[in-house]
Amino acid sequence: MKKVNQILLSATLASALLGGCVSRGNDPGWEYAPDMYYSKGYEPYSQADSSALNPYGMSMRTPAVGSVAMGKSDYVYPYENNGAGYELAGAELTMPEGFSDADGRGQYLYDIYCAPCHGAKGNNDGAVFQKAANLKPAWKGYSDPYIQTLPVGKIYHTLTYGKNNMGSHASVLAPLDRWKVINYVKQLSMQSAAAPAASATENAASEMETAN
């Protein structure tokens, strides 16, 4: 009967140990078939082992300089990231032909990528600017004549490369999406200019729409 007692004792110990295998904190817990959990083939964000060929264990490679993915030729941007490029973009770049933003994607994207700093109406009163006021640009908001008269090409250049405290948004906004955002920014800018004359607001907005 000693055997039975020993089995019972070890079962108690084992269950106590098992309790320690639950995942919490840094410990992912028990996995019964790790080779099924962790793909041998590279998947997005799978963490490979580091090797001489892949020192950081990445599952992605940096594309060769200058390579353009299929169907992404609109990502090619000829102007350089400097003052001269900024001026050139302002002078030469215009909205793509046949541009339209019928489904309001410009506003949707603006609310995600711009409003955190520039505010829902472009008054530079987003949550980030409220917390870190030192990031605010010199102009007050989109109603500022500076933004109203700013060529769309310069805004596109700024979205692509960033300017002053603003970083590049090229990795999160596809080229056409950038134009949709710019279109909405200009709408906001014109609206806020027309705001004092309440009746003029709608006209300006509809004018903007017909202009585009």
């Binding site: 039975v4 996995e31 950081y56 870190a132 605010k136």
Partner: protein, 435 residues
């Protein structure tokens, strides 16, 4: 007489009006501070540190006041006028032009310069030495304690075995002296109540097995199906102590700001460091860390090989290293999941699966990600078929078929109308997710 009086009053009035004007002619640091803040000079400049533009302290020693007034009010015109210094400065900063401030009068520029001249230097606080080392790591001492307990238990067992062996040997040689000790019941029997101790050992063992063994088996079963391979609650330490509570909660950044591919791709994407730098180029929290960049933000800079103090155009070095975030949500290789399908098409909120991320200081896995959990939703969630023009005909047919033929209650929502679920769209087919 009256006229004389009036003249006196007029003189007094003129003096009263002109006195502040005269006073304003002298540059005032207070006025300058107000103007400095009102025009957001701080967005590109700091007094003691290069930001977008150069550090401003001592600028009045480097340049003449006249030069500064022209530069600040309209640097573009000034450069075009052919000033060599102005053009050199423009080139030095990589052609990042300063904004034009013609709204400021020359006097107002003088106010600002006065403010820069007189602004107090930052107080260098003593480096904090306490508090960093005070926190001891307790986890190790607990392990040492456990090991000690185990060692002593082994020693105790060995000693008692030795004692028993010696006793047996002694009893063999001299049975009479040791008879009493040999006949003594074992310790565990003496500890039990008499009734239990006198029971048949087999019955007793069965009894104990029932009381302890069955619940343990139940626990083991539950454990094996709900804990092994299930990582709910997993909240690993990440290489950067990024707080979702601060960014998604307090600052209300939309999840898509960083996880920008969630609507287009299988993966929600870990943001590129470029995205961090959209804000953290400027947000360094130096005021909290004694003039230094916050150590967590410094990790971004290190990974990018970025030096905020470097000359313009040379901030980024050529030795960047990727940050090795620890993956939390991991589906087995044989299960396919697509974010865009759930977020864009299914219109699910991120929180439906990931829990209250905007309140998590450190992200933890909120749901089990077990198959039963997926299936639950695929059976019960309603599809917004009303606004789906692409499959409108199909959905209408499904609805009418069910209404006419089906009496299976699972197809009807609480309102009695046919409810189209993912399951009806093939959301329970094995090969939808396992292929």
């Amino acid at each position: 007489m009256i006229i004389k009086h009036l003249k006196g009053w007029a003189l007094a009035a003129i003096l009263a009006v002109s006195a502040p004007v005269l006073a304003q002619d002298a540059p005032s640091a207070d006025e300058g501070k107000k103007l400095y803040e009102a025009n957001n000079c701080g967005s590109c400049h700091a007094l003691d540190k290069k930001v977008v533009g150069p550090a401003l302290r001592g600028v009045t020693d480097r340049r003449s006041e006249e030069w500064l007034i022209q530069w600040i009010r309209n640097n573009e015109k000034f450069r075009k006028s052919g000033d060599a210094d102005a053009n050199a400065l423009y080139e030095e900063y990589g052609g990042a032009a300063m904004n034009i401030f013609e709204n400021l009068s020359p006097l107002q520029v003088q106010h600002i310069l006065e403010y820069i001249k007189t602004a107090p230097a930052p107080v260098q606080e003593k480096a904090q030495t306490t508090g960093v080392t005070a926190e001891e790591d307790n986890s190790n001492s607990i392990y040492i304690l456990l090991i000690l307990v185990a060692v002593f238990a082994v020693v105790l067992l060995v000693l008692s075995k030795v004692k028993n062996t010696l006793l047996r040997v002694a009893a063999e040689q001299d049975p009479e002296t040791y008879a009493e000790q040999m006949n003594k019941l074992p310790l565990w029997k003496r500890l039990l109540p008499k009734k239990l101790a006198n029971m048949n050992t087999t019955v007793l063992s069965l009894f104990i097995t029932l009381i302890i063994g069955l619940p343990m088996a139940g626990y083991g079963y539950k454990f094996s199906i709900s804990e092994v391979g299930v990582q709910k609650g997993y909240a690993p330490e990440q290489p950067i102590a990024f707080s979702h509570k601060l960014h998604a909660g307090d600052l209300q950044l939309n999840c898509r700001y960083c996880h920008s591919t969630v609507e287009e791709s299988k993966s929600a994407s870990i943001p590129a460091l470029n995205t961090c730098m959209n804000c953290h180029k400027g947000v360094q929290l130096t005021e909290k860390y004694n003039g230094n960049v916050s150590p967590e933000i410094q990790k971004i800079y290190d990974a990018l090989d970025y030096d905020p103090e470097a000359k313009p155009g040379e901030e980024f070095g050529d030795n960047p290293k990727p940050i090795r975030w620890v993956r939390i949500h991991n589906l087995p290789d044989h299960a396919y999941f697509n974010h865009s399908q759930h977020v864009k098409v299914g219109k699910l909120e991120c929180q439906t699966c990931h829990g209250p991320i905007e309140r998590m200081e450190k992200v933890q896995q909120w749901n089990t990600l077990q198959m039963g959990w997926c299936i639950d939703c695929h059976r019960n969630a309603g599809i917004d078929a009303a606004n789906n023009n692409y499959y409108a005909a199909l959905h209408a047919k499904a609805a009418s078929d069910l209404e006419n033929n089906g009496n299976n209650s699972q197809y009807f929502g609480p309102d009695g109308k046919v409810r189209i679920t993912p399951a009806m769209n093939g959301g329970l087919e094995c090969a939808k997710c396992h292929y």
